[in-house]
Symmetry: none
Subunit: 131 residues, 4 copies
Amino acid sequence: MGDDFRSSQPIYLQLADRICREIVRGDRKAGDKLPSVRDMAVEAGVNPNTVQRVYAELERMQVAETRRGQGTFVTEDVARLRELREELMHERIASFVRDMTEMGFRAEEIVTGVRAHMERSLDTAQGGRTE
Amino acid sequence: MGDDFRSSQPIYLQLADRICREIVRGDRKAGDKLPSVRDMAVEAGVNPNTVQRVYAELERMQVAETRRGQGTFVTEDVARLRELREELMHERIASFVRDMTEMGFRAEEIVTGVRAHMERSLDTAQGGRTE
Amino acid sequence: MGDDFRSSQPIYLQLADRICREIVRGDRKAGDKLPSVRDMAVEAGVNPNTVQRVYAELERMQVAETRRGQGTFVTEDVARLRELREELMHERIASFVRDMTEMGFRAEEIVTGVRAHMERSLDTAQGGRTE
Amino acid sequence: MGDDFRSSQPIYLQLADRICREIVRGDRKAGDKLPSVRDMAVEAGVNPNTVQRVYAELERMQVAETRRGQGTFVTEDVARLRELREELMHERIASFVRDMTEMGFRAEEIVTGVRAHMERSLDTAQGGRTE
DNA sequence: GTGGTCTAGACCACC
DNA sequence: GTGGTCTAGACCACG
């Protein structure tokens, strides 16, 4: 144990993750152009070098492609995007389940709890129609 | 959007949360003595004042009680501890579901995904050859 | 018995109490802005950290609300303020009665004494020559 | 306004007041010997000079008498002690009423509040017999 | 500017 | 020893 309180994921991974989420969510579609390195750097308030690493990471993940002189684009490989969606989902689920299990919750409790929570949310959102 | 990359919860809340998890997990039991303010400060690598705040927060939550000159102890009110367990569970579930929904996953997908993940974990862990 | 002569309530509670009294008295009204942490610190001759604690206490009591970047304000929940008034009244009365009882005065004596004192005050103030 | 938070009555007046209360309460009776200056100083954890001033103050109030070579005694003038009782009572009542009035409470409210508080205390203490 | 957090170091009361 | 309070001075996020 030590002063691990300020530590967190590197900024470039945080940014890459954010962009992946925007893609999975549908805010950025296959073939969409991403902002230029400089623009993205300004938007996110980080150094252009950091954005460079972000785009490199997205390319490594086969989620984005950069075309010299044109910019960086979301891949047009929709199969890869479907895959990315699955990956992100499983990653978050795994992280969630690990967290809950580590706290001593049983599998049954977790599933029940999640379903109950969603039904409650639905009721709140829809007004709980009887039919 | 801005430079929210370094932001995080205050240390004193992170520490309080960590201790709550240890309690819920069973690593710290009802009536257990917590480390002294000074010891905890050294262990966690923070200032004693910060630990003092953590203990005040735990007392506010009725999760710990402090006896002057003796130290700070996990509450012996086991009903409160059961309640805490439920609170933490719902909190984490809510956060998880919000996150997933925000990413565009449907309720059905999420529940199915969680259950599938767990069954896979079980298989891995137990070998799952009962049938 | 010992050297409890210099002991007193913590400054931050004294200050919080003083502000509550000013509110109950009507000197500070619902929605009024309290002095900034730094200004109040100068006014009261204490450290800004202490005032910070005072405002946190007032917020915990739901007597004040703080808006980031704007300041700390007396709550606009007038029902809560009426409640505060009752609380303060009962608190002072309880303390007074406890003190008197401890000194060996009987209930009857106390009530009679209080009423007599007030009638005398009224006489002094108004001249009380209606009859 | 300034740093008036640590200020309070001088210790010698606090001690004199405490002794008066013990007399009024009946813990010290007419003619009782008070502890020697040195003993009282040790008991109260203060300087003997301070106790000297305390006894002088009690003498000035005609509440105690000191006989050279013998010590200090509660006065045997029971009329004076009855008077002292009245004085203390009125003093406390006056202080209480001033405090409450300053906070904006009306005379009627105060009397009603005090009587209500006492009835409640009686109920709690006696178990609220129906007859 | 605002409040919120953190560190450093001190003193106190209680046991 | 314990926790509780206070000061001094710093940095941060928000608006």
